[in-house]
Amino acid sequence: MIAYLLRRLLATIPVMLVVALFVFALLHLSPGDPAAVIAGDYASPEDIERIRHKLGLDAPLHQQLAIWLWQVVRGDLGTSIFSNLPVSKLIGQRLEPTLTLTACTMIFAVLLAVPMGVVAAWKAGTWIDRSVMVFAVLGFSLPVFWLGFLFIFGFALKLQILPVQGYVSIREGLWPCLRHLVLPSLTLGMVYMALIARMTRASMLEVLREDYIRTAHAKGLKPHVVLLWHALKNASLPIVTVIGVGVALLIGGVVVTESVFAIPGLGRLTVDAILHRDYPVIQGIILIFSAIYVLINLLVDLMYMVLDPRIRY
């Protein structure tokens, strides 16, 4: 068990190494002089030279790579070109709103989507099933920011029951914090819910066909006991997998959602970094988000053992 955990942790190192190398290479594979591109169209030659020096682009390539990797390993993500602050500090300042929003979205999406999928599979072929599937297809198709504006228009501007935009930290009270998170979470969670509901339904449909489900029914167990303890438990591996994999969708969506709802998180930092072509910040954000994604999927892998006692490493 411990040995397996260590082995899985070690296996994430090459993946993160490739991510880091890729992020490093991006700057050098781009057509033209990266310093000139980052400096923008109106930069003077001195500006370009300053940026080149700041990014260490005037050193030989292998030396640049070694320096960059060593810095990243020590947690030094470089310095922002625009604000001159360390990137790790900038990210630290913005982490809380993003994590709160993402966690809130994950919790409510899983709590809603799994039952939706279970009921759809249980009542397969009925109108309930069909409406869940319609919801799932719609969830994949509606652009996040458009949905966000629809919600703002409907719930905040017309009905005036929820705040339009902004973020209130949980330290200032649970209720104001949650009130501000309802619309962003709903917006962000739609695709994720669609994905989970769809996978839950598919996985449950497969399990419900098994013999032991018929046996459980035959021995007189109540339907909800069969559904939850016999079926859902055995159908849970693909569901948990998709909950982990879907985090990529959440990370992409959070950038857009924060921009719509004026939430001062990592997404906003990303957008500001794009505007200023602040490449060190963009590199840092990619590394952090990829690390979060890899770690969550590592957790998912470990969940397998809890959910399925047959899996022993």
Binding site: V15, V18, L21, V137, I251, G252, V271, I274, V294
Partner: protein
């Protein structure tokens, strides 16, 4: 010669027209999606002929007008006709969607074939693909756009790169199972070269799943293009795209909601149509995949 007698078991040999008709009757949502897409393609190609005016024409007197008989979708803050901008905007979205799908399928197929067939290449290539897949697609596209100039070609490139690993994985998995099939072994036994085996015997059997995957890539590329434009990292503002129009309209949500409503509606309907087409194709072309499982987003 050997393959000619074995292959029909894998590639369907029912008469085309009969299966096509049955497909239409069995799958009305797919046909609906295909029809809507066709209509969008016609509108995009013939944009000047559908009652549109110059999408860049400024008309400051009529700015921020609501939908009316003169301005079907209203006007924006510069008095530009939103109906015309939306119709012209479909050009960018559809072009980006199609190009990203075709490009990522082609490149992914090539890499996947080699990786699945040549074991030594495989180990290295798959590690690189794993690494790229650990970066959330939209962030990777943003990073690429931050390093390139804003243009439609660069948007296509930036959206293609994150999709390639997913295609490679799919093709590789298919190749790994196909290379064990009797007809591949047979053609190797009669002395066919690697290229011949891959191109004549393996590739045709990857087409159906690839087409399905292509529709999902197309759908997500259309949405991502709008995200990029919305975040200020997409097509340049002088070309109307659905994302650009909505990005410009965001400050006017309270007084001119239609600026966001109509382009977004068209974007949603287009993506919905592509998704419906994809689900339908999956069910008809590849029954093995038809388990409610989405290759595109689930991987």
């Amino acid at each position: 010669m050997v393959t000619a007698t074995v292959q029909p078991h894998l590639v369907e040999d029912r008469p085309r027209s009969a299966s096509l008709l049955r497909m239409l009757r069995r799958n009305p949502t797919m046909v609906g999606g295909a029809c809507f897409l066709l209509a969008m393609l016609v509108a995009a190609a013939g944009a000047p002929y559908f009652g549109t005016i110059d999408p860049e024409e400024l008309n400051p007197i009529d700015r921020l007008r609501g939908p009316s008989l003169t301005y079907w979708f209203g006007t924006d803050m510069l008095g530009r006709d939103l109906y015309s901008r939306t119709v012209y905007g479909s050009r960018i979205s559809l072009m980006v969607g199609l190009c990203v799908a075709v490009l990522s399928l082609t490149i992914g197929l090539a890499i996947g074939l080699l990786s699945g067939y040549l074991r030594r290449v495989d180990a290295v290539v798959m590690r690189i693909m794993d690494g790229i897949m650990a970066i959330p697609a939209i962030l990777l596209a943003i990073a690429l756009m931050a390093l390139m100039n804003a243009s439609a070609q660069n948007v296509i490139l930036a959206l293609t790169i994150p999709e390639i690993p997913r295609v490679v994985r799919l093709v590789r998995a298919l190749v790994l199972s196909l290379r064990e099939q009797a007809f591949v072994e047979a053609s190797r036994a009669v002395g066919a070269s690697i290229w011949r085996v891959l191109l004549r015997h393996v590739t045709p059997n990857t087409i159906a799943p690839l087409i399905v995957q292509g529709t999902y890539i197309c759908a997500s590329a259309v949405i991502f293009e709008a995200y990029l434009s919305f975040l200020g990292a997409g097509t340049p503002p002088n070309i109307p795209s659905w994302g650009n129009i909505m990005a410009e309209g965001r400050t006017y949500v309270q007084i001119a909601f239609w600026i966001i409503l109509f382009p977004g509606l068209f974007l949603a309907l287009t993506v919905l149509a592509v998704n419906l087409l994809g689900d339908g194709l999956r069910d008809t072309l590849d029954p093995k995949l038809a388990r409610g499982f989405r290759g595109g987003l689930a991987e």
